[in-house]
């Protein structure tokens, strides 16, 4: 489960970053880029909190 969440989180980060390079390349509009960045943001915060701090807590306990 944790691995799936990690993959989704990393995909969300990519969704935040990559559209801007597509704007630079002229492949998508800035408006679409902004929408994709917002979706990436929501997914990141919705998934990362379930695994990022848990890894840290495990490390401290070990």
């Amino acid at each position: 489960m944790k691995s799936i969440l990690k993959v989704i989180s990393i995909a969300a980060l990519a969704l935040t970053l990559i559209p801007s390079f597509l704007v630079l390349k002229g492949s998508i509009t800035p408006e679409l880029s902004k929408t994709l960045m917002l979706i990436g943001t929501i997914v990141w915060f919705g998934t990362a909190s379930f695994w990022m701090n848990k890894s840290e807590e495990e490390e401290v306990e070990s």
Partner: protein, 474 residues
């Protein structure tokens, strides 16, 4: 049990080891520091500092080279100064200073320190407010504003201040967790916002970047009324903008949790993501704003980020401000709490948060950020030199460390003399020598070193050279 009782119990259970070394089982792994530093230095200040390099007419070449050299020097300072001292003592700056300088000196120092932290946190709350105010059409402050320009601004600042204070009341763990989550996303937003506007600056491929950077973004021409920045300005600013935290030892509060002193190098994530990529990104955004607004005086990071990256950009400004304000409030709380250890940490943080929020209502705090950041580092620097010498050098000279604790004194004059002479020397260099505030830290540090060694030699009586503090073996 009611929820309010439960909340009070949780708050009172927060133990931050203000007056005891961090126990071995509470030490944190390197991931915690990487997240904290990245979150703290990819922050609201970056939305202000990056644009100021544009305003001061830095050239693209000076900016890149100055930032690389200055950032490396900052990382080395965090590791070799703060990391070494923090791991050896595992105490906060405030408690360590009390043992060296005495509680009367520390009382005065803590009030000064907490005030500086409050102003820094306040400026970050104000930066967040420029983004939160967007949906309400809040009138934004301009470069020349000193006082709040509307009731809406005050209400917005108070809402953000309340949330920031509430989170800070729960201590380092909560702040660390939030910074961990926000940091990777924030840097993506910084990069994406800047890359997304490049076509509007005439950049349509990577090969276009450098020529446009040199001629349009960082064209070397300062805005009217702004001084010209050279390589040296940028290098020293990058090194000393966090002087209070590394050479000034404020980050002992964080690095005392580190398993090894080398965790000080984890500051690299903060400085190279925040003080390199983010400064350049925000400079690009501001340069575009200046071009398209034909030199508007409005200075509001929120709308600039919103225009470039939409809602995600505005949210980034809010969170960037928040992740700076939170640990800064936490530090201010520690500073005040050390005045009277009987005060509960959460109650002190609540008070500090109120003061900070009131300060955040004044936009001048944001507009004078460069000078304030330099001054803040300069004021704390001499005490960092004192702590470093006291821990590592004095014992080798046959002098006693923790002199105030050893002699049960309330005030160690050697520390007071060092602070006063160093700051008067720096002030003299500034007024009579015309040396800008960004360059004063380096000569000031050497003066502090010389004065503290001479003053300690002169003041310390023939005491038994054994510190009452038991050395740690971890």
């Amino acid at each position: 049990m009611s929820s309010s009782q439960n909340l009070k119990q949780r708050l009172e259970a927060v133990n931050e080891y203000e007056r005891t070394p961090i126990p071995k089982n509470k030490l944190k792994g390197w991931k915690s520091f990487i997240g904290t530093y990245a979150g703290e230095h990819t922050a609201g200040t970056e939305f202000v500092i990056g644009p100021l390099f544009v305003a001061h007419g830095a050239t693209a070449g000076d900016l890149v080279s100055g930032l690389i050299v200055g950032n490396i020097l900052a990382i080395l300072s965090w590791a070799f100064f703060t990391g070494k001292v923090a791991v050896k003592t595992r105490t906060t700056l405030y408690y360590q200073l009390e043992k060296i300088a005495g509680n009367r000196f520390t009382l005065f120092y803590n009030v000064v320190n907490a005030a500086l932290f409050c102003f820094l946190a306040g400026s970050m709350i104000a930066v967040s407010a420029t983004a939160v105010g967007i949906p309400f059409n809040l009138p934004m402050p301009s470069l020349t504003d000193i006082y709040p320009n509307s009731v809406g601004w005050i209400i917005t600042v108070f809402c953000i201040g309340t949330v920031t204070t509430f989170v800070a009341m729960f201590g380092f763990n909560v702040i660390s967790k939030f910074a961990n989550i926000a940091a990777p996303w924030m840097i993506m937003i910084f990069i994406a916002a800047a890359v997304g506007v490049l076509p509007r600056l005439g950049i349509n491929s990577f090969s276009d970047f450098w020529p446009v950077a040199e001629t349009t973004i960082w064209n070397g021409v300062p805005l009217e009324g702004q001084s010209k920045f050279t390589f040296w300005h940028i290098m020293f600013f990058a090194w000393f903008c966090n002087m209070g935290m590394h050479i000034g030892m404020a980050d002992m509060s964080l690095l005392r949790y580190a398993k090894k002193w080398t965790y000080g190098f984890s500051s690299a994530t903060g400085v190279f993501l925040g003080h390199f990529i983010a400064w350049m990104a925000s400079g690009i955004l501001y340069s575009l704003f200046l071009l398209e607004s034909k030199g508007s005086l409005v200075f509001a990071p929120g709308p600039i980020a919103y225009e470039a990256a939409g809602i995600a950009g505005a949210v980034c400004v809010v969170i960037a401000g928040w992740t700076t304000a939170n640990p800064t409030l936490y530090r201010a709380g520690l500073a005040i709490q050390s005045i009277n250890p009987k005060w509960k940490t959460w109650k002190v943080t609540l008070f500090v948060g109120l003061v900070t929020t009131i300060a955040a209502c004044f936009p001048a705090l944001v507009m004078q950020l460069l000078e304030f950041v330099a001054l803040y580092g300069l004021i704390l620097m001499p005490l960092g030199a004192v702590i470093f010498l006291d821990v590592f050098v004095l014992p080798k000279m046959g002098l006693a460390s923790n002199y105030a604790e050893l002699t049960k004194s309330h005030f160690n004059p050697a520390v007071g003399i060092t602070w006063a002479v160093s700051l008067v020397f720096c002030l003299g260099l500034n007024i009579y020598g015309g040396i800008e505030i960004f360059f004063l830290g380096l000569p000031g540090w050497f003066v502090a070193v010389i004065v503290y060694l001479l003053a300690s030699k002169a003041i310390q009586k023939k005491t038994t050279n054994v510190s009452p503090t038991i050395p740690l073996n971890y």
